[in-house]
């Protein structure tokens, strides 16, 4: 059952990812990205990280991608046209992509063994209680620093938006 679910949603994720790159229209690309995020959330659930899955759904596909879509619709961006100008990309793109994929898969397969359970830093389980506990004890400094960073970003965005108004 787990394997079937994993294969289904991994396939959907890859297909949506490819579709995102191949589609000409920005709205189609954005929706494919949402498809990737939702299938990733399912994969997180399969790994037992239910809180991360919910956060993925609420934050990424529920809030950030809505903003993306909002901006695309507001600018009324149309379908993009293919140009013949980028010659290097045309010839070197596919071989370089294959090299990158091959290298990264080689590194991943050699650096990790299959027997170990998934572990990320001090996080050992993915439920809301465990994640919250580690976040506010072991990782409290990085957590707070990140929130201050976001606050600075908000202040900066506010300043920039205000400048435009005057």
């Amino acid at each position: 059952m787990d394997l079937v679910l994993f294969l289904t949603f991994a396939l959907i994720a890859v297909a949506c990812g490819l579709n995102m790159a191949l589609q000409r229209h920005p709205v189609s690309s954005a929706l494919s990205l949402i498809g990737v995020m939702v299938s990733l959330a399912v994969l997180y659930v399969l790994l037992g990280a239910e809180f991360i899955a919910a956060a993925q759904l609420v934050v990424y596909s529920g809030a950030i991608m809505v903003l993306f879509l909002f901006v695309i619709m507001l600018l009324n961006a149309g379908a993009e046209k293919l140009t013949k100008k980028a010659g290097t990309a045309h010839f070197l793109g596919l071989p370089l992509l294959l090299i990158l994929l091959g290298l990264s898969s080689w590194v991943i397969t050699t650096a990790t063994s299959h027997a170990k359970p998934v572990k990320f830093g001090a996080f050992t389980a993915g439920g809301p209680r465990e994640v919250g506990w580690e976040l506010f004890t072991h990782y409290v400094l990085p957590f707070e620093v990140t929130s201050i960073l976001i606050l600075i970003a908000i202040a900066g965005a506010y300043r920039l938006a205000n400048k435009e108004m005057d």
Binding site: E50, A55, L57, V58, G62, L69, F70, M73, P128
Partner: protein, 394 residues
């Protein structure tokens, strides 16, 4: 019995019940608004218009599905069903009652028992925007696009105070599982005040903030700017007809049911009755018995000629329900459902009541309320609740 089989049976009961409820909420809404405005409302299709939802469904099914030119076909087709899917899926985590024993099978009343139940609801609420946004964009109509833009901005803005308001009762129950949240609200303080988060948790401010956000999230009056008919024709669903329009309609009412169920589970104690259990077990029978008596009385002295035949039939149905609640075995199970659905029904009535009473906000007012009033109030409520929980928790 097999877990999968039990789940399938529960799904086969809850899904059609939900869809039937959605159809009849429309009837109730039209009736209530009509009576607020001193009209009669639907009356001619079936006794007191009771068959009106079925007539509406047939009308919508057989209507021509008109697709305007220049639409993006795939998204135009997908948008209403996406919206409906995200709305209906929310019912999965709603706890309708405690763990009960039906015909020797131990099961909880409700579909899934998720550890992240509330986050699931919030995630679906966030995803629900896509149905409306895509509908507006793919329709190739400026009014539809404006409606979709309004809706997206409104739903993102109101999700924030809503999540903050919902965090406060979670702090008190120390869990994201809706079933556990309801379980912590069992019992009575001083013997008569129900131990709900609304009363003994002092969450009255959080409840009000949540309900205001719920109105905005479901695009209901006074926050129905995405479909403001005197500015935007019909907003995001201007270009939709037939079953696609019906899907948007059902999604809106389903969202109403979901937000009311969440409010019931988090603030109003879920299936726990408002009076002590010794009295509570007779309340459903009293309510339905009273309704039966009233119907029989009005059947004897009919206001309109047809009431002489229709009212005694309704009275008999109500009387049958009253007897059903007194049966041993099935009675206590129905009792839990009665209290949960009764609270949800009251909140739904409140939604309709507000629709019949209030005018619509202006767009800048709508944004101002969310960011300058609801957000700080919800934040303050959360901070005070957290302080209270740290000081007084056992």
């Amino acid at each position: 019995m097999d877990y999968l089989l039990v789940s399938l049976i529960k799904m086969a009961i809850i899904a059609p019940a939900l869809l039937a409820t959605l159809a009849y909420i429309v009837w109730v809404e039209r009736k209530v608004i009509a009576h607020v405005q001193l009209r009669v409302g639907p009356y001619f299709v079936g006794p007191h218009g009771l068959l009106q939802p079925i007539a509406d469904a047939i009308k919508l099914l057989t209507k021509e599905d008109f697709i305007p030119s220049g639409v993006n076909h795939f998204f135009y087709w997908a948008a209403p069903w996406l919206g409906l899917m995200f709305a209906v899926t929310g019912i999965a985590v709603i706890p309708l009652g405690p763990v009960v024993n039906i015909f020797g099978v131990e099961t909880n009343l409700g579909l899934a028992d998720l550890n992240i139940g509330l986050l699931w609801i919030l995630g679906l609420a966030g995803m629900g925007v896509y149905g409306i946004a895509l509908a507006g964009w793919s329709s190739n109509n400026k009014y539809a696009l404006l409606g979709a833009m309004r809706s997206a901005a409104q739903m993102i803005s109101y999700e924030l105070p809503m999540a903050l308001a919902l965090a406060a009762p979670l702090l008190m129950s120390n869990s994201l599982n809706l079933r556990e949240v309801v379980n912590t609200q069992a019992g009575f303080v001083l013997g008569f005040v129900p131990n709900w988060n609304l009363f003994t948790g002092f969450q009255i401010v959080g409840f009000v903030v949540y309900m205001i956000c719920a109105f905005a999230e479901t695009n209901r009056i006074p926050f129905d700017l995405p479909e403001a008919e005197n500015e935007l024709v019909a907003g995001f669903h201007s270009e939709y007809s037939s079953m696609k329009f019906a899907a948007f309609f059902m999604a809106e009412y389903c969202n109403m049911v979901i937000v009311c169920s969440v409010a019931t589970a988090l603030y109003l104690g879920g299936w726990h009755p408002i009076v002590p259990p010794t009295i509570a077990q007779f309340v459903p029978s009293l309510v339905f018995g009273g309704a039966a008596a009233l119907l029989f009385f009005h059947g004897m002295n009919p206001g309109r000629p047809t009431d002489r035949y229709s009212f005694p039939v309704f009275g008999a149905i109500m009387g049958g329900l009253a007897v059903l609640f007194l049966l041993p075995g099935i009675g206590p199970i129905l009792n839990h459902l009665f209290w949960f659905l009764g609270k949800v029904g009251f909140l739904l009535f409140f939604f309709i009541w507000v629709r019949a009473t209030l005018p619509r906000f202006r767009y800048d007012q709508l944004m101002k309320i969310a960011w300058l009033f609801l957000f700080p109030v919800a934040l303050l409520n959360l901070v005070l609740t957290a302080a209270g929980v740290t000081l007084f928790s056992k």
